[in-house]
């Protein structure tokens, strides 16, 4: 009954363009949760996979929307600042891949651990960094999350180990974090991310071997965005079934554009790890709108049509928005309000990031050693 009333109301607004009728709506009119059918995962060495019918609550949906929108806007602002030369050096943007970071974080605890490569701004945010300190790090200011000393690729916060510049090096590190979890018996796990390009690194296979041998609680996640810099997966890998590359490690191939798919698969993977079964591998099929980095326009090795097609058919934020609206879990206005708030947060953060002073020169030689006095620089 309520649903049909609100549908009528919505129809009225569309015809009249009037806001008056909408102000009568209360949150009690929204569906508090709905069940969604999601894509089945491809499985490797697994009898069964994650559920394909999942529940999302209104609160969860709004939260995922807000976080993804924040990440999206933050990356687009970084693009702007880079073009204005306020951000320098490397800047690898994550827009398009938001569902991965958000879906993963939704399935683990902040007390779990996560490590990724250099396309890390989104994860720094989901792991607890603020937009302000992320942007100030990009602009190299003292208020940055690493006091301006790390930059885009070297952001850290509690239980988040960066931000790593050397392709593939983060994978053994992640397994090491997992070893520490197992050693300390704290039931925590480590999510260890790498890209389709990194997936061909030898040290990853060394890590698969040790993680499986020692049953380390690590979730290996390959974010396959189809291109390792300018090289498509077909040109780089003899086998593009990245979820199978762990061979003896069970694997899942997941629709990385759907936050619910990612969440469900990550939950499944986390259960697997926490039950002592050892590592598991997830391939998230995702896409980046930007080029590899800000110095790559991203259209010499792929077509604008391809990019546009993904944007129009598979954008993670649009997909979530459609789900929320068509299941009456949120209103257009509500989501617009979130957009406005996000925009403001990003603007404020950018303002901070461009006005905060650079680190003091006295900091130059600090932080070489822990629990040591500052060293004199060699003259």
């Amino acid at each position: 009954m309520l649903t049909s009333i609100t549908n009528v109301l919505r129809a009225c607004v569309q015809k009249n363009g009037a806001a008056v009728v909408m102000s009568a709506r209360t949150y009690a009119d929204f569906t508090s949760q709905a069940t969604f059918e999601i894509k089945k995962c491809d499985l490797h060495k697994l009898e069964e996979g994650p559920a394909t019918q999942v529940v999302m609550t209104r609160d969860e949906g709004l939260q995922y929307y807000r976080v993804m929108q924040t990440m999206r806007r933050m990356e687009l602002k970084a693009d702007q600042l880079y073009k204005q030369k306020i951000i320098r050096g490397f800047c690898h943007l994550y827009d398009g891949q938001e569902a991965c970071a958000v879906g993963i974080e939704a399935s683990i605890n902040l007390t779990d651990h996560l490590i990724t490569a250099y396309r890390a701004h989104g994860y720094t945010y989901t792991r607890g960094g603020t937009v302000k300190e992320i942007m100030a790090e990009l602009t190299g200011r003292r208020g940055g999350i690493a006091k301006g000393k790390g930059g885009s690729m070297h952001m850290y916060c509690k239980h988040f180990y960066g931000g790593n510049g050397i392709v593939g090096a983060q994978v053994p590190l992640g397994a090491g974090v997992a070893l520490a979890c197992k050693y300390q018996g704290n039931n925590e796990l480590c999510v260890c991310l790498y890209g389709d390009g990194a997936a061909n690194q030898g040290q990853i296979f060394e890590t698969y071997n040790m993680a499986a041998l020692w049953k380390l609680p690590v979730i290996f996640i390959c974010e396959n965005n189809r291109y390792g810099m300018g090289t498509s997966v077909e040109r780089a890998a003899a086998s593009t079934d990245y979820y199978k590359r762990g061979e003896f490690i069970p694997g899942l191939r997941v629709d990385g554009m759907d936050v619910l798919c990612v969440r469900e698969a990550a939950r499944f993977a986390a259960d697997h790890c926490r039950s002592g079964k050892g590592p598991i591998l997830m391939e998230l099929q995702t896409y980046r709108y930007h080029g590899h980095s800000m110095s790559d326009p991203g259209v010499s090795y792929r077509t604008r049509e391809e990019i546009q097609e993904v944007r129009s058919k598979s954008d993670p934020i649009s997909m979530l928005k459609d789900r929320l609206l068509s299941n009456n879990m949120a209103s257009v206005e509500e989501l617009k309000e979130i957009d406005v708030e996000v925009r403001k947060e990003i603007e404020d953060a950018a303002q901070y990031a461009t006005t905060d002073p650079e680190p003091p020169l006295e900091e130059l030689c600090n932080h070489i050693f822990s629990n040591n006095p500052p060293l004199e620089p060699a003259h």
């Binding site: 790390g150 050693y183 040290q203 060394e206 890590t207 040790m210 070489i368 822990s370």
Partner: protein
């Protein structure tokens, strides 16, 4: 450079007095004591557990501490070094053994980019309390790929401490310090020294005995020339000094103990007294430890006290040959040190 004195009180070893301990056993004791002291310490590397260590340095530790604390790894240096660094980031205190430092080259990215630089890049958020240890430099007859000295390579990098013990006290005290240090330490042992016994003082037998990283030791006082060395060649310097003493030349022998941070002050103080400096190392000459010492002395207060240019005695600038006669002539010998001292003193 073999030591030392016979023991007066062998029967009463446990209760008092100095004892003879090989470098191997000193390292073993250091690890045993630190494993016992702090639960977060663990050892990983190839053959460290069930084989008792490729060179038996970790003998008995697996039996005592088990699989959790003493971990045999597959032959995957880059992988297991990275795992060790990750474990250090997450709160443990790993000792990562390289069977020899030649193999560390495969893992060097993890040592430098993941371990050494992280505390700085994170502006102090993420310390990496790890020790990378293993034999470094030439052995005997193991040829070019297994004989390289990595002191200069690692000591080049900020964020690392690089330690190079000579005798048993050095080995024990410095390894304990390295394990207790909250920073990445590269601990360069020497295979030829493992079996050499040295007298260890009573103090050095205490479970709390540590030697500070970054401080050199004057092994022998002298007035005429300063000899600076590290690791095995400290012994060669002492042998040369004994021979030269008979001719009235008194050498001051400095055992660096730590390559980075280097105790330049001790070197300068000595040079200001002796006015002559000879450096001795097993590594290659270019960009080496001796080259750094020359630069630092030239830049500092001791320069004006030099009566002659510094002489470097180093390994020959070639890959290590196999044939014994060639190998012997690829590394500093006592006679080379004596020759260099006399040349520097112009006698």
């Amino acid at each position: 450079g073999k030591a030392v004195v016979g023991l007066a009180s062998r029967k009463h070893q446990r209760t008092s007095g100095p004892v003879e301990v090989t470098v191997r056993d000193a390292l073993n004791q250091a690890m045993d004591e630190e494993l016992e002291r702090d639960e977060r310490v663990f050892l990983m590397g190839e053959e460290v557990a069930q084989y008792d260590g490729a060179y038996k340095v970790s003998r008995g530790l697996w039996k005592k501490y088990g699989d959790k604390r003493i971990i045999d790894t597959p032959i995957s240096e880059m992988g297991f070094a990275g795992i060790a660094v990750g474990a250090a980031m997450a709160g443990l205190r790993p000792i990562c053994e390289f069977m020899t430092f030649n193999f560390s080259m495969q893992a060097i990215d993890q040592v430098i980019n993941s371990a050494a630089k992280t505390y700085y890049m994170s502006a102090g958020l993420q310390p990496v309390p790890i020790v990378f240890r293993g034999p470094n430099g030439a052995s005997a007859g193991v040829a070019a790929q297994h004989s390289q000295c990595f002191a200069a390579w690692y000591a080049h990098c900020p964020g690392l401490k690089v330690v190079s013990p000579w005798n048993s006290e050095d080995a024990k005290g410095l390894l304990k310090s390295a394990i207790r240090d909250d920073n990445p330490v590269v601990f360069l042992e020497n295979e030829l020294m493992y079996g050499v016994p040295f007298e260890m003082s009573e103090d050095s037998q205490s479970k709390d005995f540590t030697i500070p990283i970054g401080k050199a030791k004057i092994e022998r006082q002298g007035n005429h020339v300063t000899l600076v060395s590290h690791s095995r060649f400290v012994g060669h310097c002492l042998d040369a000094a004994a021979v030269l003493a008979k001719e009235g030349i008194e050498c001051e022998v400095i055992n660096l103990r730590t390559i980075r941070p280097m105790d330049v002050e001790s070197i300068e103080t000595s040079v200001m007294k002796t006015n002559h400096l000879v450096t001795v190392e097993g590594g290659w000459p270019q960009f080496g430890v001796g080259a750094e010492i020359c630069a630092r002395v030239m830049e500092g207060s001791a320069f004006n006290f030099l009566d002659a240019p510094v002489t470097r005695v180093t390994g020959v600038d070639i890959p290590m040959p196999y044939a014994k006669i060639l190998e012997d002539h690829s590394l500093p010998q006592v006679k080379d040190i004596i020759f260099s001292v006399k040349k520097t003193l112009n006698v």
